[in-house]
């Protein structure tokens, strides 16, 4: 009883704060400050049509580097938590209910899903999307494959290699930015050029970085899901 009363009190105070915030909110009518700078100069400085991508990969690319590091750490901690003992590793569990139609349809769909993921991260500077979304779509394709054949094993070595190589390459491109451009992870390299605005090969190194981020995120999320799927074996 007392607990319910306290909960109601906490919620009411939050509600009061939010009501005040809501009442004093004035909708914006103009872009101000740094947003105006990005909107005005983003296309000419970075060359990306999608300004969100310009902010994520070029103006604030340190954030992105930190973000993929966080995902990597999450994958590492989860694989530490859900580590199987040797006898569980070889256990076979019976998966029920996979129909032939789902198997065949997944064989047809998976290449198309992977293609769409690749399209999303290669065109990240022109259309909505980018590395994170593309990586998530690729991981969903892997999930569809697991759903169709539950006893399929994902090759762990391939995942680790894809992840490490793409991570290292991102850092190398960042260091190239110090040498050829204005600083670490600068996407406008001298001599590389920005390309024609609105085409696939434009915007400096943004498509390259975002493709690598996409591969890395796809590998990391596949790793997390693979760990969860394997943990079903644990007794």
């Amino acid at each position: 009883m007392l607990r319910n009363f306290l909960i109601a009190l906490v919620l009411a105070s939050f509600g009061f704060i939010f009501l005040n915030l809501y009442n004093s909110y004035e909708p914006k009518t103009e872009l101000t400050g740094i947003a105006a700078h990005y909107a005005e100069n983003g296309a000419s400085e970075v060359g990306a049509a999608n300004l969100v991508t310009a902010v994520v990969v070029s103006y604030r690319s340190f954030d992105t580097l930190g973000e993929i590091t966080i995902l990597f750490l999450t994958a590492a901690i989860i694989s530490f938590f859900l580590k199987l003992s040797n006898e569980d590793e070889n256990k076979v569990i019976i998966h029920k209910g996979t129909s032939e139609i789902l198997k065949t349809a997944s064989q047809l769909l998976i290449p198309l899903i992977f293609l769409f993921g690749v399209y999303v991260f290669i065109n990240g500077h022109l259309t909505p999307g980018g590395g994170f979304q593309g990586g998530a779509i690729i991981a969903s394709g892997v999930v569809l494959a697991i759903m169709a054949n539950p006893n399929m094993t994902i090759n762990h070595t391939v995942i680790v290699w894809v992840e490490s190589l793409s991570g290292v390459t991102v850092v190398i491109i960042g260091v190239l930015g110090i040498i050829l451009g204005g600083g670490f992870l600068d996407s406008t390299l001298d001599g590389y050029g920005l390309g024609e605005f609105g085409t696939v090969f434009s915007a400096g190194t943004i498509p390259v970085i975002y493709s690598l981020v996409g591969l890395k995120v796809g590998a990391e999320i596949s790793n997390i899901l693979n760990k969860y799927q394997k943990s079903q074996k644990e007794s």
């Binding site: 991508t53 999303v120 779509i137």
Partner: protein, 81 residues
């Protein structure tokens, strides 16, 4: 104007779904309802001119999170049996 009407409709649906997610006793129903909340949130993001965020929410917030929830539920069911 028309956007606001769509937003109000979808917002009411989202709130009902959120309350179902919290009050329902069955865990699987709660997880599905939370997934529906995320999916409708992605329509709202699209209305508010944020297609990047909408795509991320649909792919990561709704799809993959729901999948992990179901792995855990399946594990719990298997250990209870």
């Amino acid at each position: 104007m028309i956007y606001s009407l769509i937003a109000i409709g979808i917002g009411i649906l989202m709130l009902i779904m959120a309350v179902i997610a919290i009050l329902n006793d069955k865990l699987s129903v709660a997880v599905i309802a939370a997934g529906v909340v995320s999916l409708f949130a992605s329509v709202l993001f699209l209305l508010m001119a944020a297609p990047d965020v909408a795509m991320t929410e649909a792919a990561i917030g709704s799809g993959l999170s729901t999948l992990i929830f179901f792995y855990v539920l399946n594990k719990i069911k298997r250990q209870n049996a």
